[in-house]
Structure formats: C-alpha cells, structure tokens
Amino acid sequence: MNMFTVSGSPHVHGDDSTKKIMYGVVYAMIPAILVSVYFFGLDAIRVLVLSVIGCLFFEWVIQKYLIKGGTTINDGSALVTGILLAFNVPSNLPSWMIIIGALVAIGMAKMSFGGLGKNIFNPALVARVFLLISFPVQMTSWPKPKAITEGLADVVTGPTPLGIVKEGLDAGKTMSELKPQIPTYMQDLMGQMGGSMGEVSALALILGGIYMLVKKIITWHIPVSMLGTVVIFSGILWGFNPEHYADPVFHLLTGGMLLGAIFMATDMVSCPMTKRGQLVYGFGIGLLTILIRIWGAYPEGVSFAILFMNAVVPLINKAFKPKRFGAKPGVAINQ
C-alpha cells in the first residue's frame, strides 16, 4: 500500500538552491582568482587558502559548538565569504591577520546575527574594514603586480592609483602632473595596477559579472545604478575642473569599484529586496564612494559606502515596494 504525500500546492519546484547560487558566485570569481594568482604568485594562493579555510573553520566551529545546530558549511556561503575576503586584502598581508579577518567576517558579521541570511552587513566587507582600521600599515602597502612569468623574487610594494591621485592632489599637484605616475586604462583593465588581490583586473571582474547576470544570480540594477552614479557624479566634477578631479573612467576602473559593484554590493543577503530599492541602493553607494574618494580621509571609499548603505537597507525595503498589480486604477471605461 502506497503512502501518499499530502502538501499544499505547488507540487513542483524549480530546482534552484542556495548551494547552486553560492557556487555560481564562486564560478564567477574564478577569472579574478586566476588573474590574482598570475600577478601575485604564491602569496595570492596563500591568502586565498588561509582565508577560505579560516572562514569555513569558524563557520563550522561556531555552528557546532556555540549554536549547537547542524552545520551548513557545504552550502558554499562561507566559501564565497572566504574568497571575497581574500579579494579585499593585499597579497602580502601577514597570515595571522587573515585568520583574524576570517573570524571577524564569520563570527562577528555573520554568526552573531544568526547565520546565513540574517546578517545586515556584508561579512567580507566588515572584515576588510576591521582590518583596515586595526592594521592600517599592512592593509595599505600593496605589492606591485608583477606577472608570474617575471619570476617570484623581489616583491616591491607601492601605492594604488587612487592613493597616488589622492596624495598628489592633496599636495597641490594637478591631474596632468600626476598622469605619468598612474597606470593607463589598458593596464587597469588587465590588472597591472596596485591594489587588493581581487580588484586589480577590471576585465576579470566584468567577465564574472556577465556570468552571474546570465545565470540570473544577480540583476543589473545594483551594478548599473552604482556605476552610473559614479560616472555621472565624477563626470560632473571632472567637467567642472579636469585639473583637480580625476576623470570618470579612472574612478570606474581603479580601486574596489568593480569588485564592489559586481560582487560586494550585489550580495543577496545585505542588499534591498525590490528592484526599485536596488536602484536607490546603488545610487547611494555610488554617491558615497565618490564623496569619500574626493573629500574623505581615505583614498578608497567603496567598502565604507557599501557598509553604510547596508545599514539603510531595512529602510529602503520599507520605502520602496514592488509595483503592485492593479495598484493604479484600471482603464475606467464604465464612467
């Protein structure tokens, strides 16, 4: 005798799962991983492995011994956090700092809120900002990218393009004077600029973004509104005084802008739930980033901007509802 199952409709499922989404993000990050390994060599692998293992370990330990429930390290969310954390630090960061970063990301930013899906802030970004404030020297001495083919020895550290511009402008130089010091757009695109591990190659990040768009892991709303705001806002300033403000393309391609727009701001857990809200969220991040980059104390502002907007997400969710069906009056034909 068969025992039938009774449940409410629907009786079929679309076969999507958290695991699929998380591994989709991991696949999308592969080009950027390869580029970072190409430029930073063994150090990149060290940072990646430590960060990923650290995140997985802390997730497992906290779930098993503190929360005392089943562990979910298989669902890939800790893996994504681990890789993103590695992307957000310089490749020469001391190992113990990476472990601390992983603990902050998982323990403080994720698990203390209740685990997957309940964190307000992006865990990897919380860890990055934590490290940046705690260890400013180590977090801002970036090794110069050097193709792996050029040999492994002699790692030279140097400032990021954003750092060069910020310092130069503060010292009273003009953009045209600084131009020879900063990498060309082509170099930005390919990854030949100083910076954190994952943010060096714009091209690899864009590839990952396209993959996620095709796989419907992210929607276009956040990246487009964020980058659009950056281009427009920095464009206005640049048009106003090109000698004192960097041009929009420079802002777009340098620093953590693309990494932030494609991988960090689009983090499902900490971004708004509606498409309208996402547009506002992206706008806010873009605006804040440029404000911090130009007038703030730090040369880079993407992570602060995203964290700030993360905190605003509950309000955005309340204020921006989806377009309801039938909310606007129908065609009145009976009057």
Binding site: S9, P10, H11, S77, G326
Partner: protein
C-alpha cells in the same frame, strides 16, 4: 501573429510536460456507482432533493442551488439512489453527498443527445442565463465559480470584452487543449452564446504558444464567427489567472480587490464555453467533463470524457493502473492542484486532471534559511513580497500581512516554485490569507 503578448509582472516557466497532448479524448465507461458530493462549486453547497431509493435518469435534477453563489447538480447517471451520506472529498474530509447505483444509461427526454451541430442561437440573453443557471454550470478551469453569476454584471458595470481562457498554463494538463482541437466548433458557438448573454461584440480567445495546433485550428474556425479573435500568448505561468490573462490580452489591470468586470472584461474557460454550448443548444446539464490522467510514470497518459461522480480509481485503471512508485496524487495541475489523500474520491465539476507523481518527485526539498535573494518578489505576478508576507503570517503579524496586501495573492505558487531555500512560502501565505480574511470579515460585521 506578431510579437507574442504576455502579462507584465513576474511569472515563471516550469517544465511543460504535456504528456497527454496527443491523446484524443476517450469516453470513459460508466461507473458502477456514482458518488456525487453536494459541494461542487465555490460558495454554498447544493441541497439534495432526492431520497434513498429514488429512481433517477441522466440529467435529472438531484440537488438544487441553496443560495446566490450555488449551483444545481444533475444526476450524471441513471439508476437508483443508494443513499445520502457523507462522502470523502479529496482532502479527506467527509461532506454530504449522494451515492447512486448505476443501472443502464437512460437519459432525460428533454436532452438532445444527437451529434448534430446547432449553430443558430435562438435564445435571448435572459433565456441563456436561465439555461446556464439551470444546467448547473461552473467555471471549468478549477475555480468552480458559478458561471451564471459572471454573466450578470452588477448594476452600472458593462462588459466590453469576453475573454476565453485557452491558456492552460498548468504543466501536464491537456484537457482544454484537446477540447479546443476536437470540439472547437462547439466551443466557438458557446463563445458566441456567451457574447450574446453579455451583450459584448468582441471576444478574444487566449491560447499559449505551446499549442500551435490549437491556435491554428481555432483561428481557422473563428473566421466564420464575427467578433471572435484568437490571441497567441507567450508561454508564461500563471497566464491562466484571470487578472494575468486580461493584462496579457487587452492590457488592462484589474484593480486590487476588484473583479474583472471593473475593467469591462469577463473571463470564461474554454471548457465552460463548451459546456455552455451543450447547456443552451442541447439542453444538457453539466454531467460530464474532460479529465487528463497524466504523470511521468503513467503508462498511458490520456484525456477522458468522464461522468461526474466516477471514482478516480476508474480513470487511473483506464490508464493501465497506478504506477508502482506513485508518491502523490494531485487533483489538477502541479502548480495549483490539490493533493488527494486517497483514490476513493470522485470526479467533480472542477476536476481538470489527475496527476500521478513519482515518489522521488513528490517530496519537498529540505527547507533552509532565507538568503533574501528576492527571487520570490521578482516572480510574483501580483507584485507582492512573498518572503515578507510568509514571515508575517508565520509570526502571526496579521496586521502587517494585511498592509502588505496579502489578500491580493492569487496562490499561483510561483514564489515557492522558485525559492532556492525551498521555503514553503505559499503555505504561510495561505495561512495569512485565511487569518486576515477572517479578521476583515469580523471588522466588517462591526
């Protein structure tokens, strides 16, 4: 055909699995015993007017409407009333019903049982509505709303379009598809009758693009019918929902909490149009319907013309038996159908299909935490936020659920279908709807 139309918000595209699309409609043999539940329509159940031992003929009235939203029930078989007792319905509840022992197949004299097609419509609008009401017609798509009520727009409202729903957006089901192919002419006459009853000059038959044969067939036939046009639609679930279909065909949005007549539309199913033809032209009440029996493990997926009251066991036997590893039986399609608790339930006016699901398909996936991916809001055809509503219902915050318009939910299941965390969103939405509905009724009373 041009660009295919569809509705604007949300929607999903589940695997179609129209396994029985090519199986012609077969007439199922009469059952030995017909079980006729009295509650076969949305609204008040009917009231039995026969008693134990009464002889009945096919088409004889055995239960009459007990209110405005209620319908007549006619005997689908001829024989003797065995008893009036509680019968088990699909959900396992016992509800009043009539059990008739079948003896021969003697029809009521007033019914025209010939095959001749009667094209000319002689009745006027009121006569049509009376006939439809008398014949006990309900919406054949599954909602079982009494048809005649829809044909009488409230004062001050005028219908402009009649929209015939040939979408059949539910996966697996093919009864409407087969009906359009085999009874297209009758269905179109039925449409014409409905147009006359409503006094409208335009009728649109919406058919999804995964049924090109039906689109072609009906388009060719419709040339002879003035005012009837066929609209091919992009395949998108839940296009068969009234509001979605109106949006897709005439691009009008039914306001929240209102009926389609608000935007001058009346939607009827193709099955209903066919039943209207039979009721008005042939004087035949609603005593049988087309039911698909389908499923991946079913040996012979088929479409049957079955009398109301036939036990579904008989339909499954006709399709060469219940497959060994059946884990779930669904009355209707996989997106909105109801799971049955046993096989001892009869075909009723609203049964559009019997779906037998394999064991491995019938269990839900293990629920995991919500990752706030908002896919449920993207696919919701009503523009709601299922994640929020289900959470509100779960935590008994019914005021929030009401403010966030939980009552607009059409229970299409797109949110739960798409949820990567396999959260039973619709379960909680339904819970919220029923609780909020009760709260609102209480408030209105005061």
């Amino acid at each position: 055909m041009g660009i295919l139309k569809t509705f604007a918000l949300g929607g999903v595209h589940p695997e179609e699995n129209k396994l029985s699309a090519n199986a012609p409609i077969e007439v199922l043999p009469l059952p030995k015993q017909a079980i006729i539940p009295l509650g076969q329509n949305l609204g008040a159940p009917s009231k039995a007017i026969v008693k134990k031992g009464d002889k009945v003929k096919v088409g004889q009235l055995i239960a009459e409407a007990s209110g405005f939203i209620s319908t007549n029930i006619h005997s689908p078989v001829s024989g003797t009333v065995f008893k009036l007792d509680n019968v088990i319905d699909g959900s396992g509840y016992k509800r009043p019903g009539i059990i008739i022992n079948v003896d021969g197949d003697e029809w009521d004299e007033s019914i025209d049982i010939s095959d001749t097609l009667i094209t000319e419509i002689t009745d006027d609008a009121q006569a049509i509505i009376d006939k439809v009401k008398k014949a006990g017609l309900v919406g054949m798509g599954g909602a079982t709303f009494p048809t005649y009520v829809k044909l009488m727009p409230p004062p001050g409202k005028v219908a402009e379009y009649l929209i015939i729903n040939g979408v059949e957006c539910e996966p697996y089901l093919t009864s409407d598809h087969r009906l359009m192919l085999e009874k297209g002419q009758e269905m179109l006459i039925g449409t014409k009758i409905l147009m006359k009853a409503l006094g409208v000059s335009k009728a649109i038959i919406g058919i999804e693009n995964n049924k090109p044969d039906a689109i072609n067939h009906i388009s060719v036939l419709a040339k002879d019918f003035e005012g009837i046009s066929v609209q091919a639609l992009k395949v998108q679930y839940p296009q068969g929902g009234e509001k979605q279909l109106i949006k897709a065909t005439v691009n009008r949005e039914v306001p929240s909490g209102k009926l389609p007549i608000e935007v001058g539309c009346v939607v009827q199913n193709v099955g209903t149009a066919f039943a209207v033809y039979e009721a008005v032209q042939k004087n035949k009440p609603l005593i049988d319907r087309v039911v698909s029996v389908t499923g991946k493990a079913v040996k012979k997926p088929a479409n049957y013309l079955a009398r109301i009251g036939t036990p579904i066991q008989q339909l499954i036997d006709a399709s060469e038996g219940l497959p060994e590893n059946t884990g779930k039986i669904v009355n209707g399609g996989p997106m909105m159908g109801k799971a049955l608790t046993s096989l001892d339930v009869p075909v009723v006016k609203g049964s559009s299909g019997i779906l037998l699901m394999k064991k491995e398909e019938s269990s839900r996936k293990v629920e995991s935490p919500c990752i706030r991916c908002s896919k449920c809001t993207y696919v919701c055809p009503m523009g709601l936020e299922p994640y929020l509503l289900s959470k509100a219902a779960k935590l008994a915050k019914y005021d929030i659920a009401e403010d966030e318009m939980v009552m607009d939910c059409i229970e299409c299941g797109s949110c739960q279908y798409t949820c990567p965390a396999s959260i039973p969103l619709l379960d909680y939405l339904r819970l919220g709807k029923s609780k909020v509905g009760a709260i609102m009724r209480d408030r209105n009373k005061k």
